[in-house]
C-alpha cells in the first residue's frame, strides 16, 4: 500500500463495502495513519448492488473521512460508454468499460483492489503489481517477474497498474482478520430470511430485477451471502451463521468454494480469464 502511495501520483482504492475491501481499508488505515488516506475510494455501481452493501459503503467511507467516488453503469450506458448486448441482463461485463472510463476521467495510474489468488484459477496467476496497457488489458503471458518484495511499479502515461495486497489471503484468512480487527461487515453476510427462487441449482434472491417467473415457486429461506456480485446472479447460501465465529466455523468445514455461488464464473471454464484480459479486476 505504501509502495503504491510512494510510487504513483494518482492512485485510488477500490471499495465496494464487501468483505475483502473492508480488510483492504483497514490495511490502508494501518499503512497511512495518522495521516489521511492519500488516495480516494472508488466504486463502480452496477445498479445491481445489494442496497445493504451500498449503505454500508457510504457510511464507512464517511466514518473514515475518505473521499468516495462512485461511477454507475447506468450512466455509462446512457453516455454510450458501455453498450449492453441484446438480452444481456447481468451488469458484470458492463462494469469494465465503466471502470476504464473512470480511470481515464480522473487519470488514475494505480488501483488497489481486494482480489485474492485463491478465488479463481485465472486470479491464481496474478501478480501483486499487475500491469495494464493503455486499453486496460491484462496480458498473462507477458507479466513482469516479481522477485522478492521488489515491485517494479513503472508505467508510461496512459497505462496503469492494479495492486492486490490480499493476493496471498484465503477466504478463511479474510474472516479471521475481520474477527481479529473487530471489523464491521454488512448484515447480508449474516443469516437472515429472504425470498428466493431456485435457478441453475442456486437460490437467487427475489428482487425487482429478478421477479419470479409465472408459477415459479418462491421460498422464504434462512440464508446469507458468501460472496457478493451482481444481485441477479449472487447465489444465497442456506446458513444459520449469525456471527463472525459462526461464519469461520462454517467455512472451515465448507465443501464448496466461495465462487461456487457466483453464476458469472460458471459461464465457461475461461470466464474469468476473458473478463480479466478485457480490464476486469
Amino acid at each position: 500500500m505504501r509502495e503504491v502511495a510512494a510510487e504513483f501520483e494518482r492512485p485510488a482504492l477500490l471499495f465496494s463495502g464487501g468483505k475483502d475491501s473492508i480488510c483492504l481499508l483497514r490495511l490502508a488505515e494501518k499503512a497511512f495513519r495518522p495521516s489521511d488516506l492519500p488516495m480516494p475510494l472508488l466504486n463502480v455501481d452496477t445498479g445491481h448492488h445489494f442496497a445493504e452493501l451500498n449503505d454500508f459503503r457510504d457510511r464507512r467511507a464517511q466514518e473514515l473521512g475518505g473521499k468516495l467516488i462512485i461511477r454507475t453503469v447506468e450512466d455509462a450506458i446512457a453516455r454510450g460508454i458501455a453498450v449492453p448486448a441484446p438480452g444481456e441482463l447481468s451488469r458484470n461485463r458492463l462494469q469494465i468499460p465503466t471502470l476504464l472510463a473512470a480511470i481515464e476521467e480522473f487519470g488514475f495510474d494505480c488501483l488497489i483492489g481486494g482480489a485474492r489468488r485463491d478465488e479463481e484459477k485465472a486470479r491464481a496467476k496474478e501478480r501483486f503489481f499487475s500491469f495494464r496497457d493503455a486499453f486496460g488489458q491484462w496480458d498473462p503471458k507477458s507479466q513482469r517477474p516479481e522477485i522478492w518484495n521488489l515491485f517494479n511499479a513503472r508505467i508510461h502515461p496512459g497505462e496503469h497498474m492494479r495492486a492486490f495486497p490480499l493476493s496471498n489471503w484465503t477466504e478463511l484468512d479474510v474472516w479471521e482478520y475481520i474477527r481479529r480487527e473487530h471489523l464491521e461487515v454488512p448484515a447480508i453476510y449474516f443469516s437472515h430470511k429472504r425470498k428466493c427462487v431456485r435457478r441453475h441449482s442456486q437460490w437467487l434472491p427475489v428482487t425487482e430485477l429478478l421477479p419470479p417467473k409465472d408459477k415459479e415457486p418462491v421460498k422464504e429461506l434462512v440464508v446469507r451471502v458468501r460472496t457478493i456480485g451482481d444481485i441477479i446472479s449472487t447465489g444465497m447460501v442456506e446458513s444459520p451463521a449469525g456471527s463472525i465465529d459462526d461464519i469461520i466455523r462454517e467455512i472451515s468445514v465448507a465443501r464448496v468454494t466461495e465462487r461456487g455461488s457466483r453464476a458469472d464464473d460458471k459461464t465457461s471454464e475461461a470466464a474469468m480469464e476473458d473478463r480479466k484480459k478485457a480490464g476486469y479486476f
Binding site: R2, E3, A5, A6, E29, K30, A31, F32, R33, P34, S35, D36, R117, D118, E120, K121, A122, A124, K125, P140, K141, Q143, R144, P145, E146, I147, W148, N149, L150, N152, R154, I155, H156, S167, N168, T170, L172, E176, I248, R249, S252, A254, R255, V256, T257, G260, E269, A270, E273
Partner: protein, 439 residues
C-alpha cells in the same frame, strides 16, 4: 462451542521441473488427497474431463488456469495455490519448467522456504534439473526436496532412484547451499508417497511428501541480528489545526532485519547521522520494540532530513554504503545484458540509475564453472556483474539479508524487469562513516 484452532505456521514452497515432469499433477494430487478440494472444483474437473474426451480426471487442470495452458497441456505462468492441514498452512508457487519461462521460476522461488524439484524417473537428471537446483541455491532457499516422479513407469526400480540420488549428490557440495535435502520416490498420477505411503516401494522408508512438508523444521528465516529499516514512506499528516499532529513526522517502512527498540541509538544512512528512536508508532498504539518483518512508523529524536530510500540501521554491524556494487545476476529478458548499458536499479525502497561497468563471468550451467569472458548475458543466463549507481546504496550481502541484499534491474523505455541481482557482501572500504547529530 469450540473448533480447531487454525495452524499459524506457513510454509511457502515452489515446484519446478521440466515440461511433463508432472508438477501440476503433483500439486493437484496434494490438494486432492489432502481433501483441500471443494465439491464444485471437483465437479469442474469432471466437466473438463468430459470435454477433453478420455473421461479421466486430469489433476493438472486444477492449476493450469489459463486456456492456452489447458490446450497445450503446459504451465505458462506462476500459479499460486493455498491449502492447509491441521499442522500447517501452505502457499504453493507452481513454476513452469520449459526454458523460455525460467524467469518465472525465480519469481515463484524467491520467497520460498522450500523447493521441490521434480525429476522424471525415466529421464533422470537433465540440464533443467541442475539449473533449478542451482537457482534454488542462489536464491538461498533453505530446504530442497528432489521428488523422483513417475516411478510407476519405471517399475519402482530402486536402482534407478539411487542413481538419480547419486547424480544430484555429486554436484550439491559445489553449491554450498541448502540446510537439508530430501529424496522421495513418488507417482503423482497414482498418489504414491504424496499423501499416502506407497505399497509399491517397500525399499523406501522415508516420509511421504506431505509428511515431510508438514514437519520440516523451518527455523525463523528472518534475520533478527542486525537492524535494517529502509524508509518506504514519510508520514506527515497535513493538519496544521491539530495540535497533537502538528509536529508529527514519521518514517514508515517494514523492518528488513533485526530488532528496533524505543530510545535506541540509530544511524541514518547514507547521510551518516546518528540519532535516537523517540517512538515506535503503530495504528494499534506505540511499541517498546518491534522486529523483522513488522511494518512500523518511527519517530526520531532529531528533526533530520530523511526520505524514501534512506535506511535506518543500528550502530553496530554496519552495512555497505557505496555506489559500487558487485552482484550475481539472473538475466530475464530476450535482449541480452551488455557492459556499459544503463538500467534502473531498484533496491529496498529506492530506484536509482545504474550502469553495468563490467561483466566478470557467466556461469556454465553444465559444469557450474565460470566462463570468464562472456561478452554478454542472454535470457536465463547467470553471471557476476559490477554496477555503479547514481547514488550510494545501503546494502548487505544477500547471504546475510535477503531484503537488503537483493535488487532488480529495469530497462528504461520498456519498463521491463530484466534482471534479478543478489549482492556480494560489502568490502571494508565501502563501510559508511558517521558523525553524531549536531544542531
Amino acid at each position: 462451542m469450540s473448533f480447531p484452532a487454525h495452524p499459524i505456521e506457513i510454509l511457502r514452497f515452489n515446484t519446478c521441473g521440466s515440461v511433463d515432469d508432472g508438477k501440476s499433477t503433483l500439486i493437484g494430487r496434494l490438494l486432492y488427497d489432502s481433501k483441500s478440494l471443494m465439491d464444485d472444483q471437483i465437479a469442474a474437473l469432471e466437466r473438463s474431463a468430459d470435454i477433453t474426451g478420455n473421461g479421466q480426471i486430469n489433476l493438472a487442470n486444477l492449476t493450469d488456469g489459463l486456456r492456452a495452458e489447458r490446450e497445450q497441456g503446459i504451465t505458462i505462468d506462476v500459479a499460486y495455490r493455498y491449502f492447509a492441514t491441521p499442522r500447517r498452512k501452505f502457499i504453493v508457487a507452481d513454476t513452469p519448467g520449459h526454458v523460455q519461462y525460467t524467469r518465472n521460476m525465480v519469481t515463484g522461488a524467491s520467497t520460498a522456504n522450500l523447493s521441490i524439484v521434480l525429476v522424471d524417473a525415466r529421464q533422470g537428471v537433465v540440464e533443467q534439473t541442475r539449473r533449478h537446483i542451482y537457482i534454488g541455491a542462489l536464491l538461498g532457499i533453505p530446504h530442497l526436496v528432489i521428488a523422483v516422479n513417475k516411478m510407476d513407469l519405471a517399475n519402482w526400480d530402486q536402482e534407478r532412484f539411487l542413481r538419480i540420488r547419486e547424480q544430484v549428490e555429486g554436484f550439491l557440495p559445489k553449491l554450498n547451499a541448502f540446510r537439508d535435502v530430501k529424496f522421495i520416490p513418488i507417482s503423482a498420477l497414482n498418489g504414491d508417497n504424496v499423501v499416502t505411503a506407497s505399497t509399491s516401494a517397500p525399499w523406501y522408508e522415508g516420509p511421504t511428501l506431505l509428511a515431510h512438508l508438514e514437519t520440516v523444521y523451518i527455523a525463523s528465516d528472518w534475520n533478527l541480528n542486525t537492524l535494517r529499516f529502509p524508509i518506504q514512506w514519510v508520514n506527515r499528516p497535513n493538519r496544521p489545526a491539530d495540535a497533537a499532529l502538528h509536529d508529527f513526522r514519521g518514517l514508515s517502512g517494514q523492518i528488513a532485519g533485526g530488532i528496533i527498540r524505543k530510545d535506541q541509538e540509530v544511524l541514518l544512512l547514507p547521510a551518516g547521522i546518528k540519532t535516537r528512536v523517540k517512538e515506535i508508532w503503530t495504528y494499534n498504539g506505540s511499541l517498546n520494540e518491534a522486529f523483522c518483518p513488522q511494518s512500523v512508523t518511527l519517530r526520531l529524536a532529531h528533526d533530520v532530513d530523511a526520505s524514501r530510500g534512506d535506511v535506518i540501521v543500528g550502530t553496530e554491524n554496519l552495512p555497505g554504503c557505496s555506489p559500487e556494487l558487485r552482484a550475481r545476476l539472473c538475466w530475464m529478458h530476450t535482449r541480452p545484458l551488455q557492459p556499459n548499458r544503463k538500467y534502473l536499479l531498484k533496491h529496498c525502497a529506492q530506484t536509482v540509475q545504474a550502469v553495468v561497468t563490467s561483466l566478470e563471468n557467466r556461469i556454465d550451467m553444465a559444469s557450474f564453472e565460470p566462463d570468464l569472458a562472456p561478452g554478454q548475458l542472454g535470457i536465463n543466463d547467470i553471471g557476476v556483474v559490477h554496477l555503479r549507481t547514481s547514488k550510494p546504496i545501503v546494502f548487505d550481502g544477500y547471504s546475510r539479508n535477503r531484503f537488503t541484499g537483493a535488487c532488480i534491474l529495469i530497462e528504461p523505455g520498456t519498463n521491463a524487469t530484466v534482471g534479478a541481482g543478489m549482492l556480494f557482501p560489502p568490502i571494508e572500504s565501502a563501510k559508511p562513516e558517521y558523525s553524531d547529530f549536531a544542531i
